[in-house]
Symmetry: C2
């Protein structure tokens, strides 16, 4: 029985070709692509619509939406020490629930069907994700230098046991040691022991800034990447956020250890962290997905913007207009992102037997004309606000621009109030 039939849409196939096709969805899965003549519970007319795999946001701190627009155009340490950390001190579990729901609402409305989060009060973040219907890969952020270091390990273990494969399998859990500069070697060793015990993968920030790498060289005589290899962190499956300042030797290690990268061009630009050598990573065969990072350092969760920045930033940085062409950028935002999260066999592609995680763009707008090439229009001209319908796990979460699982009016009222209150307290 077909539950949803997408009729006559322009479909982006995994090979980058766009062809008019129908898509049949039965329960959570894509069951047919081509010409579908059977009846369905719900038929969506997709003429003049572009159907793509939903975006995969491989790195964010969802509840930091509450700090969106609170502090910008500042030096990183000034920003953290005088603004973000004091404000985060005031966060409650309820704030994280609402801040995560705000992030999810924004992501669904801009076409993201799956995201990787690292933050705290994660059972509350998981509750927001479960209720919303989105797919999520969640990690309790752990800082070995914090007074809560051991508590964070215990919470991570409990969180894994409670939520791994939760919400009908939509939620998976990783361990989230924050970074080498906040997690000393002995603490990272404890994390690897826990990863081995649980069979859990690891989500970590690596080599985001030049000073981080210089400090690591000074303290340990090697780069963060080389240090992680030595400590065995890469033996459990690693999603590494940023990797801006990585050497050819680092890239060789990353390739060898199958490290998957979350590239965050918007955050790296706004915080002036630098430009990651993404063309070199791709050439080496490393899996690179895209992420927005948190809304305090971006300041939105718009994956189409990241896709476009990935396509444009590396061109100007390398002075090569062929660096990261449209197809490569779209793959990073979809199939490569899914692979980066360990979900490459179930999402990130419009393909039979894959999960029905689908984003549909309305194309009846001036910026979508003429239509010489839909992949180019998506990459270089579209707006995330053109997203018309979003389906995750076979359920419609956005229906003609309207959220179906989130009460937007109540949400905006809650987060408006909570956002102001957090700042006034700090």
């Amino acid at each position: 029985m077909i539950t949803i039939l997408l009729k006559d849409g322009d479909v982006l196939y995994p090979d980058g070709q766009v062809r008019q096709s129908d898509i049949a969805i039965s329960d959570s899965l894509i069951t047919q692509i081509g010409t579908v003549t059977e009846q369905a519970d719900r038929i969506i007319n997709c003429q003049n619509k572009l159907i793509i795999p939903g975006f995969v946001n491989t790195h964010t701190h969802a509840a930091m939406t509450l700090f969106r627009s609170y502090a910008d155009d500042m030096m990183l340490m000034d920003w953290l020490q005088t603004k973000i950390w004091p404000a985060e001190e005031n966060l409650t579990a309820d704030d994280v629930y609402w801040g995560t729901q705000l992030a999810i609402a924004e992501m669904i409305k801009s076409g993201t069907t799956c995201f990787a989060d690292m933050y705290f009060f994660m059972p509350d973040a998981a509750k927001a994700a479960a209720e919303s219907g989105i797919r999520a890969v969640l990690a309790r952020g752990m800082a070995g230098i914090a007074p809560t270091a051991n508590q964070a390990l215990a919470e991570s273990e409990n969180f894994y046991k409670e939520w791994q494969h939760g919400a009908d399998g939509r939620i998976t859990v990783m361990l989230g040691p924050h970074a080498p500069y906040t997690c000393p070697p002995e603490y990272l060793k404890k994390v690897t022991v826990l990863a081995a015990k649980l069979g859990a993968q690891i989500h970590i920030h690596l080599s985001e800034t030049a000073s981080e790498v210089a400090d690591c060289q000074k303290q340990y005589g090697k780069s963060p990447i080389a240090l992680m290899q030595e400590l065995g962190v890469f033996d459990y499956g690693v999603l590494a956020a940023h990797c801006v300042h990585v050497s050819p030797e680092d890239i060789a290690i990353m390739k060898d250890k199958k490290v998957r990268v979350a590239h965050n061009p918007g955050s790296n630009m706004k915080l002036a962290s630098g430009v990651a050598p993404v063309p070199d990573m791709l050439q080496a065969g490393i899996c690179v997905g895209l992420g927005t990072d948190g809304a305090a350092s971006n300041n939105n969760l718009d994956m189409l913007e990241e896709l476009r920045l990935a396509a444009m930033l590396h061109k100007v940085h390398r002075l090569d207009p062929l660096a990261i062409p449209a197809k490569a950028a779209v793959d990073m935002a979809t199939s490569q992102g899914a692979e980066a999260l360990g979900l490459g066999n179930i999402t990130g592609k419009i393909q039979r037997a894959y999960k029905a995680d689908i984003t549909i763009f309305e194309m009846q707008e001036p910026h979508w004309y003429p239509r010489h090439d839909q992949l180019s229009l998506l990459t270089y001209a579209a707006s995330a606000r053109d997203v018309h319908t979003v389906i995750v796990d076979g359920k419609i979460l956005l229906d003609n621009h309207q959220l179906t699982t989130i009460d937007q009016e109540r949400l905006l009222s809650e987060v408006g109030r909570r956002g102001m209150s957090l700042i006034n307290k700090s």
Copy 2:
């Protein structure tokens, strides 16, 4: 008599502050800002809306929208010689009319109230601009090396006489010598003679690519900027597009001769031209506006995207998170842009006695929450598709997202057909 009253909006003042205010418009002008109690022909409730001066797009080739998505991810000369130039050969006056209308529709819908165009069949472009109600600064592009070189001069003179201060003063005309590499010195001399005769200003491409500058050095022993100074081009008021590869000496000349710059970060990134030294230009006191360039090299006409790229590209390029803060980027997209077009005394600011050229953003969306700082939200989080209402010269051109002067359905049908036909012929 108040013709339009904007009630209870969050208004962006020229000093960068946002305060809730009413705005009264009488005919073409802003007549009151503050608390307005009088009646009006039309009242727009602006609660939860951000009111800003309309964006000024200082450099585009409007009708090139017809080539949007036709050719991307190519080397510049390959792109021009095998794709764009052959397709442009087929353009008719009617194509330019429709292509320009497409550009204007897209610009109005994304909050642009004034644009500077350089292309050909300009009376047809002017007709599209006049009918639409937008403000425009138009130039007939002239190439001295083309067979049409002298004809272009004559057309420019006729076009100036016919359209300068046309359409109730909404249209002004500049002379448009394309660039030093397509206009030899003797031809540029003729352009300056015509400029002096008409009292016309000049719109020209300068120092866009490194090879252009190297070729100019080789041929004339000086940079394009120094060559223009020597030829007297800068004596008539110049809008210079790109200025990517300019030296400190060039910047000193530009400052001295009051050259105004159209910075096109999106085009410069996509074509891998390089990063213009905008922070240095601003520090020198040079007027820098923002432009989208043509849709074939961008690929949209979204000024909010340019504003954001300007704020983010220079941060990462200089490794300085304080380079081009939000206020500077917004000014470049509005008041500085107006000044760059010689319209700084009439548009680009929400100010009494200025033209009512106004863009209103809807803020009731997740990415506009919480609202710690509206200027930051505009710069780093907003979407051009949040534009709700656009007013030019006191007339509403976009009303609750709907174009009032352009038949969008007919337009999309025309340009879809014409775009395909141009390519099939070439």
